[in-house]
Symmetry: C2
Subunit: 337 residues, 2 copies
DNA sequence: CTGAAAGCGCTTACAG
DNA sequence: CTGAAAGCGCTTACAG
């Protein structure tokens, strides 16, 4: 059962390999009936063009890379599947690549990926999308790439993002409207630009409602469960503890929930907890989390879409801002009287 | 900044390209000093061999495929990273591929992946590792593959697994030793062979301790949270509800936890809940889950290792059985008096 | 609208 | 121990 080649198809269809190539690549200048004959032959032989041959001969590999660092599993899988789904529509394949290192080492790692695999372009997820060193190297390399949730919006490369600041502001206002005045906040990982945007949104809501910002109510977290647990413990054992805590992602919010349970503080009766992202865990913890739905799948799908478009047209880069959505569940409520 | 080729390296080192090729592939018959010269030149030029060229010219692509269907995010990411880690050690790259369809359609999907990407071998995760149609097609194709947790242990291809039955038996005995006599069980997805193994282990423990098996206490689940929630509600509203529930994975156990919370049944005081897998969620729900640690990362690492070995040697296939571990946390305790 | 030739960057099979 | 030639399966650039 040896692999069929373009020659087999050409022979079966009674044409030259160039014609087969034309049909397969949807190039013009093939008579409809010739095209049909080639297609039939390819179908009959179950022909699959060799990616390596295409990649070596042509200037395109039909391969796209998705690079990431160390996001939470749920977020990562959504990114992957969003990007894969878009690739599949165009017969592209996706290389997912977990990067290592920072700065120069990171850049070397990614450039190595590019040189070895000949990917046509890259989808760069946060926080890699914020690495100035990497972005510069990619620029210099001339390889098309699209960033997800970047920090530098003035850069020429396409990107997709959501309004992190607005979403955080809206969530904070939800808590304020519930009647909370003393609200704790857990900042995300310092390497993620989104962290500062979410903090900014939180502060903006306080200001708008003329609630004083109390630094004691703000803790640094790292987007992981344990950091939320720890911050939660600290906040809830404050002399004057907050009646609500807004964590910058769901994992940390789950940590706050556990801290509350440990301290036998009922949620939401005596404490409201809000998260961010609306990942799987927001729906499986108890009580289920009020959170901001971040469209991770769509962000990746859309980023891949922009990448594919720019590969086709070489056009001016575009951007896309995707909508978020406040999801109210059982973890938030008015404070106890 | 055009890509460096083997010719550039050959020129810089003053040798023929064949010699560069030898050095890069660790072939014998190169004088140490020649080798050193080539290595230095490659390093200086930051040379990265083209995967497509290697793949097209040689019989190896240095590419491995990890195929999966639709596992939970945490499990999937562990598999991916385990396989990637082993690949990286050998300068292989990993293609992760989410399969679609069943039976013939599935097979076509995977064969398409093979034909297009020229992967050297496949790591086949459950439940694909149980698809007779796929396995047969792979056999016929002559492509090396390693199965994770297969159902057919007599097949000649290598596999890795863990003792699902023994683990389930041990967990059930833990509950029995706590003093539980009426124990609910939630079966995993019917397409997964592990589901029946875990059920078998559960029943074996009951028998061993002469506890009657009550079909009313056993519910069918599908390895997803919602199915655990539903099964949990049914079990806990039984006229004579169980004092402990053993779910075949953590996601479903989290569902049982939520059902208990809804019904205001304190865990573990009035209900013990046990899971299986020890994924991330086991540590973030409340109370944290007593569960079986399934070595997913290691399973994938080990599967990839077997695959790489068989690619090198063409040797007789091997198998590996990895150890599991009972993890006791706060969700299980003796029943209320 | 169609095709014959050259070449992508490597490895294989062979020669020395 | 080292190298010159042929070829992997496609696409590019060109010719008709």
């Amino acid at each position: 059962m040896t692999r069929k080649t373009i020659h087999d198809v050409a022979r079966a269809a009674g044409v030259a390999i160039k014609t087969v190539s034309r049909v397969l690549n949807d190039e013009p200048n093939v008579r409809p009936e010739t095209r049909a004959r080639v297609l039939a032959a390819a179908e009959m032989l179950q022909f699959q063009p060799s990616l390596s041959a295409r990649s070596l001969a042509g200037r395109r590999s039909y391969l796209i890379g998705l690079v990431y660092e160390n996001p939470s599993a749920n977020y990562l899988v959504e990114l992957q599947h969003g990007a894969m789904a878009r690739c599949r529509q165009e017969k592209f394949r996706l290389f997912v690549h977990q990067c290592s290192g920072r700065g120069e080492e990171l850049t070397r790692d990614v450039i190595g990926l590019i040189d070895q695999t000949h990917v046509d372009g890259l989808v760069v997820s946060p926080p890699l999308s914020e690495s100035a060193h990497l972005i510069e190297a990619l620029d210099q390399r001339g390889l098309p790439f699209v960033r997800i949730a970047p920090n530098d919006l003035k850069h020429v490369s396409p990107y997709v993002d959501m309004d992190d600041e607005g979403a955080a502001r809206e969530m904070t206002e939800h808590l304020i409207e519930c009647g909370h005045r003393r609200i704790g906040f857990i900042i995300g990982h310092p390497n993620h630009f989104a962290s500062s945007l979410r903090l900014r949104g939180f502060r903006a809501a306080l200001e708008r409602h003329q609630i004083a910002f109390d630094p004691a109510c703000v803790k640094q977290g790292y987007f992981v469960f344990e950091s939320g647990l720890e911050a939660g413990r600290e906040l809830l054992t404050l002399p004057d503890p907050p009646t609500a805590v807004f964590a910058s992602n769901d994992d940390m919010a789950a940590g706050v929930l556990l801290a509350a349970h440990e301290l036998a503080i009922p949620v939401p009766q005596r404490l409201s907890v809000a998260g961010f992202d609306d990942t799987y865990i927001a729906r499986i913890v108890w009580p289920r989390l009020t959170t901001v739905h971040q469209p991770s799948y769509d962000l990746a799908f859309s980023a891949t879409d922009l990448l594919l478009q720019s590969l086709k047209s070489g056009d001016a880069p575009k951007t896309a801002r995707l909508p978020y959505k406040l999801i109210r569940r059982e973890s938030t409520a008015p404070p106890a009287p």
